[in-house]
Amino acid sequence: METGIRVLLLTALLAGLPGCASVRDWYHQRAERRAASRAQSAPPPPSESAQDENAPPRVIEPEVARRKIKVPRIRSSNVEMGLDYGALSIEDFGTHPVYGITAAYHITEDFFFQGEAGRSRGGRTSFETLGGNVQLLTESERRFTYYDLSLGYNFLPGEAFIGRGIAMTSAFYLLGGIGGTDFAGDTKFTVNFGAGYRVVPADWLALHITVQDRVFQSSLLGTTKLTNNLEARIGTTVFF
């Protein structure tokens, strides 16, 4: 009951605060409006009419319309999205193909923020192979799905050349982040780190080679241990 009242009071307090934010400038605005109306209603200073009589009469009224320049919006191209394909070595479950999608946002020339999701399959452990009819996991439990949110750092930016005529900007980058892995009927908190190489053949296109390690705790084979799941991929992304 007491917590209910506390939550209610806090709610009312919080609801009031955003309102205060918009009210903050009202006082100044009103003062400005009052000053403007005062300036409008005031009669013109008398000295002006006296000056006009002495001045030579205007022959031509210049009518120059000031040119208004419309500024086109500059397109930002910081978002990168694409597909990738490679091999994932799942600890104790063999190496299998993996495919995934990535999306990245380039924050500065050095840092980018990346989200990834991918899917692969775990094979048979050596225990299952030797044991004959033993099945540790069902077919659906062997599906390995991961996602992560990572921060990337363009560690060694540079240029790559093909022959004399073609130069492409490139970068070797480091990646690190957190995410989740769904495997063997459970989702595990996963830390990932790795490195990649990006070549940008056109302003809108990039090619990637990435190697990442996905580390999570597993107690599937009796003992609890940290499993390292190494992944190597090639990918294509498009800049938006």
Partner: protein
């Protein structure tokens, strides 16, 4: 299996088609700027280390093709394309002689910006939490925020999502505190070892607060606490504490 493969192939094709659409987009109008310093340096790539390969003399114009992070891809009157830095572009002028102004991504941007994105690691009712959020600011103090998180615990896993308002108390301060209020949903999947092993989705309401700390450029740290009130279908409602720490950027 074959139907599945076909589905995957089709989805990939559609995605690829969507991805390639902007690349083949039609002609557009570019912003024309005039060089107002002795010369404007053009680099071969969008980074401080790329060499300068061309200079545009004073009073010549350039078309701004697009912007990537703090670099602008420009084209000269003679069709030479290169990258100009943000600092150099600040010294160019528009056709009417007025200076070219754009968002710099500095401390002033931290005080007033439109969008925020960020990621967090933390605790949700004792379980490990991975979370991301996005924010749309109405003014420097009031923002609409949405957060998605996955919590992975010993006894249950789950996903939580919420939408709410955030009030930044002192947006201009480097350490700037804020308060939050909103509604959400939580989906809990108890692990099989528990007696009450039914998946459930419940609505929530939260109240919370936190602090953001400006790091540099477009980055800031953000730490927050949310007290969730879970409206269960059982006799008693639940309270869940969420703590998280992460980094975010604005644009």
């Amino acid at each position: 299996m074959i139907a599945r493969l076909r589905q995957v192939a089709l989805a990939s094709l559609v995605l690829l088609g969507l991805l390639l659409t902007p690349a083949v987009g039609g002609a557009r109008e570019y912003l024309q700027l005039f060089v107002n310093q002795p010369y404007l340096e053009l680099h071969t790539g969008p980074g401080r280390g790329y060499p300068v390969f061309h200079v545009v003399p004073r009073d010549a114009s350039v078309d701004v093709l697009f912007r990537r992070t703090d670099w602008f891809k420009v084209r000269t009157e003679h069709g030479v394309e290169g990258w100009a830095s943000q600092q150099d572009m600040q010294k160019t002028v528009l056709a009417d002689g007025s200076p070219f102004r754009f968002s710099l991504g500095d401390r002033a941007g931290f005080t007033a910006h439109r969008f925020e994105l960020g990621m967090f690691a933390g605790q949700y009712g004792g379980a490990t939490l991975v979370s991301g959020y996005g924010s749309l600011s109405f003014n420097s103090q009031l923002a609409l925020e949405g957060a998605l998180g996955q919590f992975l615990g010993k006894f249950s896993n789950g996903v939580s999502g919420d939408v709410g308002l955030t009030h930044v108390i002192a947006p201009e301060a480097r350490w700037s505190p804020f308060l939050m209020l909103g509604l959400g949903l939580v989906h809990v999947e108890p692990k099989a070892t528990l007696v009450q092993a039914a998946n459930r989705t419940e609505s929530t309401a939260y109240v919370g607060g936190g602090v953001r700390y400006y790091l540099t450029r477009r980055f800031f740290l953000r730490a927050e606490y949310k007290s969730h009130y879970v409206f269960t279908k059982r006799n008693q409602n639940e309270e869940v504490d969420e703590w998280k720490l992460g980094f975010a950027f604005f644009f």
